[in-house]
Point group: C2
Chain length 176, copies 2
């Protein structure tokens, strides 16, 4: 029975659609079971994720854009890096705080891929500190190999066909 | 502006996780925008999709397992085929009825792939009858080529790493 309560580390990566969307679906499913679900969004989306933020508010899910609490200080050499560091601190607080049964780090692969955060340090910290029952979900392209090795479940979303190639615009409600 | 209201045909296929889950995420996003979302489930899941059915009830989303309304008649030569035909009739009613802004046909690729339904007839019917503003989402492995050609947006979910290989069991709330 202990194994049934094992928290999974899940990575949704690849160039296709559905990485964040599948994480939202997991959140909805877990919410249906009365679990506490949280999402930290590391990258600002152009359209501000209008649909999911509105849905989250209606459901009482936590979806927090990292930009929200970040304040720029002149001591920070690079705002992009400083924002990623701030985001990771927020993630650590939620991982240690015990308030989430599922924590989604949305587009967290980018700070790792671009080297704004040190992936080996982060994996070492997670191995040490992640509560064994917490489900941790990471989304984004270019998932680093060290993250894939650490994860239990990795899915690549591959683009087979995309409507923008035919001149269609992104559809509200479906895509954002 | 007309293009912005174009209904998309979306296919989530492949051997990986996240096909149905991403469809659920789309439903959540659309629900957040006040759209009417419906899902017909063509294949019975072992665990009865407990999390999503519970969430759907709490949200007032329609998620209907095809098994629900199907009644076996001795005239049906093959129950599997008869159930698929019945499911497709239910889908047609919803497509024509106008009560859904997004309709998800969950695991609808299987009746097409296994030939319980004729994919060419179905695509021809959809080309003729699908309202242009309706978003139609089809999930499942083995999406037939004719469906991929008809679709606007096709994503393949590819399994890169799966925890069952390490002996972990499926996790309630996250996977079902």
């Amino acid at each position: 029975m202990a194994k049934t309560r094992q928290g999974l580390v899940i990575v949704n990566t690849g160039d296709g659609k559905g990485k964040t969307t599948a994480a939202l679906g997991m959140m909805l499913r877990a919410w249906g079971r009365g679990m506490r679900v949280c999402m930290l969004q590391f990258i600002k989306h152009e359209k501000a994720n209008y649909g999911e933020i509105k849905a989250a508010r209606r459901l009482g899910l936590e979806i927090t854009p990292i930009g929200d609490g970040f304040t720029w200080s002149s001591k920070d050499p690079d705002e992009t890096v400083a924002r990623a560091v701030y985001g990771w601190e927020q993630a650590q607080k939620r991982i240690l705080g015990g308030g989430c049964d599922i924590l989604v780090l949305d587009e967290f692969t980018y700070p790792l891929h671009f080297g704004w955060l040190d992936v080996d340090e982060i994996i070492a910290w997670l191995r040490e500190n992640k509560p064994s029952t917490l489900h941790l979900v990471v989304t984004g392209r270019y998932a680093p190999q060290a993250l894939i090795e650490y994860a239990d479940l990795v899915t690549e979303m591959k683009e087979i066909k995309h409507p923008y190639n035919d001149g269609l615009q992104a559809q509200p409600g479906v895509e954002f």
